[in-house]
């Protein structure tokens, strides 16, 4: 923390908080775009992916995933697109999220697994897991990882997104909870993970945009956004995800209710751990499908 400017409530009252953040984290939030190429991510939505009974339509979700991955990788055929990510000889861990109140949809896990098998990977060399991954032989010997989870607010880290989803790759997750979970991205440098992640997917089928309740969950603050955010850069996905949750809170409450904790770990993942890009000006969102209430 040494050397960082202290950001207080008064910075927000002055309207200088974002400048203060930029100073603290070195991000260019003032609107200047650095010369580097923009990071491309895909947002795809379909109004019918959830039916009137609240069930997820497997076929539509598979199509959303296929379209998104094809667009990201510049391919027409989804299997060809997945072949750019996965080799038939890979051992693939699909790092999911089992949080009881808003888990990764099973239909999305199945859609990913299907395409990995279509590439030629044998089923025995694929595993979908979360809390047990350190004891899971496929994850332990994996050569490729797919990172997939729902987007939600999180009491201690601001948001639960792609970066945080790898916390189960360490045996003592609570050791990463200090300073609003800012060290989370360091997990991505551990040998069990480093360099293996081929694709990140934030499920926006349902998002939780505000915390309340026994487990920081309240059905009233869950939105059926019916989307997927797909990209190679986990930091860019989380930065856009954090912005979306903020806009959903404003839309719901008529004002911005701050998160319990600002998701500093996203900035830190960029500036300290160089895991990806957190600067919104350097992220290009390619939008596909249904756009009503898209917000971002």
């Amino acid at each position: 923390m040494r050397g960082r400017k202290v950001i207080t409530r008064r910075d927000f009252l002055r309207g200088t908080a974002y400048t203060a953040f930029a100073t603290a984290f070195g991000s260019s939030l003032k609107g200047e775009v650095k010369a580097e190429e923009k990071v491309k991510i895909i947002l795809i939505r379909d109004e019918k992916v959830i039916d009137p009974q609240g069930r997820i339509n497997q076929k539509i979700l598979q199509e959303m995933l296929d379209q998104g991955v094809c667009k990201l990788l510049g391919e027409e055929n989804p299997v060809q697109a997945w072949k750019k990510l996965i080799k038939p000889t890979d051992i693939v861990g699909i790092k999911s999220n089992v949080w009881a109140y808003l888990p990764t949809p099973k239909e999305l896990e199945d859609a990913i697994q299907q395409r990995i098998m279509d590439v030629g990977v044998q089923k025995k060399d694929i595993s979908i897991g979360d809390r047990d991954i350190l004891n899971n032989p496929v994850f332990r010997s994996s050569t490729a990882l797919i990172n997939v989870r729902p987007l939600r607010t999180h009491h201690w880290s601001g948001i639960g997104g792609c970066i945080k989803n790898y916390v189960m790759f360490v045996s003592a997750p609570w050791l990463y909870h200090s300073d609003a979970c800012s060290p989370l991205a360091s997990i991505w440098n551990k040998s069990i993970v480093k360099g293996k992640t081929r694709l990140n997917i934030l499920s926006l089928i349902r998002t939780q945009f505000y915390n309340r309740g026994a487990h920081h969950f309240d059905r009233r603050f869950v939105s059926e956004y019916k989307g997927l955010l797909i990209g190679k850069d986990p930091v860019a996905l989380d930065a856009i995800g954090a912005r979306l949750l903020q806009l959903q809170r404003i839309a719901y409450f008529g004002e911005d209710r701050p998160l319990d904790t600002t998701p500093n770990h996203i900035f830190v993942a960029d500036e300290k751990y160089k895991l990806g890009v957190s600067d919104l000006n350097r992220i290009e969102i390619i939008k596909l499908g249904w756009m009503e209430g898209v917000l971002i």
Binding site: M1, R4, V6, I7, T8, R9, R10, F12, L13, R14, W99, R131, H154, H155, W156, S157, G160, V167, P173, W174, H177, A180, C181, R212, G213, A214, H215, H216, D218, R219, R220, P258, D260, T261, T262, N264
Partner: protein
């Protein structure tokens, strides 16, 4: 040798967490006590009988990072019980042994603002979740799925549990020092860590008040008759006078660097802030409508501290 390793373990645990670990014997005693509080049957609801227990370390397995909030208080043991009834959503009860009634009240005060339903020493029901505290216990009672009978079912299970907790407890002592006029009782928040204070009233991402497991803080909201605009009073108790003074200087330097020795200034929203150290305590008033109101609230709190401290 075993005694040596046990001593090292205790030392490291206390150093890392600031909280004494529950030993197996103590933990077993707590489990027996807690099992007595949760009835096997409530009307047609029956306990599944697969009670689960989690301590400060294992509770992450049950609730992920949400456990940090409970750990930020003196949480000792969590018992989870599932009640089932044909054609009804199962009801989950989470009963927390918080170590003290102060911390049971503290975790309860983290979220209030819904309906008080008269269960325990304080309750809050909304969105299919009942939260209440009594004695050294705090409980969440909620339906696994949304259902029409959800509210009735949840409250019917909450009532006997609160009734089984025979011994009531005291709210944190700090509360008695708060001036009563204009105080919104339902707004009281008790906490130890700056992350929790920020949830209620954001001050800074950094811990400029030097809050920690050994500090006790209360945030109160005042609604003056004439304006109805919220004024906040923050009262923090430190383990020593020196720690309070160091924290006070850190706060003034970061938050109100332009303040003279009067320690009352106008902030960018046109309202007033006033801060003062007093013995082991720090007193801060935020968002007062005038300089006079800010200083009067500080003075009244200071008087209460002087009168009521031993």
């Amino acid at each position: 040798m075993a005694v040596f390793f046990l001593s090292v373990f205790i030392f490291i645990t206390v150093l890392a967490t600031g909280v004494w670990p529950a030993f197996p014997v103590e933990s077993n005693k707590m489990k027996i006590e807690m099992k007595k509080l949760l009835p096997l049957e409530v009307g047609m609801f029956q306990s599944e009988g697969k009670d689960q227990f989690y301590d400060r370390k294992t509770t992450f397995r049950y609730m992920d990072g949400a456990a940090e909030l409970y750990r930020s208080y003196g949480f000792k043991l969590l018992m989870v019980c599932r009640y089932v009834k044909v054609d009804h959503s199962p009801i989950i009860v989470e009963l927390f042994h918080m170590g003290s009634s102060e911390d049971a009240f503290g975790i309860f005060s983290y979220e209030t603002g819904e309906e008080e339903v008269g269960i325990g020493q304080g309750s809050d029901y909304g969105g299919g979740l009942l939260r209440f505290w009594k004695g050294k216990y705090f409980a969440n009672v909620f339906a696994e799925r949304e259902a029409l009978s959800m509210r009735r079912d949840i409250l019917s299970i909450g009532h006997p549990i609160a009734g089984n907790i025979k011994k009531e407890g005291h709210k944190p002592r700090l509360i008695q020092f708060l001036p009563g006029e204009g105080l919104s009782e339902k707004s009281l928040r008790y906490f130890h860590l700056h992350q929790v204070l920020n949830h209620h009233y954001f001050i800074s991402h950094q811990n400029i008040l030097h809050l920690g497991e050994q500090t006790k803080g209360v945030l109160a909201t005042y609604l003056p008759q004439e304006t109805k605009e919220k004024t906040f009073l923050l009262l923090v108790q430190y383990p020593t006078k020196k720690l309070a003074e160091t924290a006070f200087h850190s706060f003034v330097k970061a938050y109100m660097p332009e303040a003279s020795h009067f320690r009352t200034i106008k902030t960018e929203n046109g309202k007033w802030i006033s801060a003062q150290p007093h013995d082991h305590y720090i007193l801060v008033v935020f968002d007062a409508p005038s300089q006079g109101k800010a200083e009067a609230l500080i003075e009244a709190t200071r008087n209460n501290l002087e009168k009521r401290l031993p």
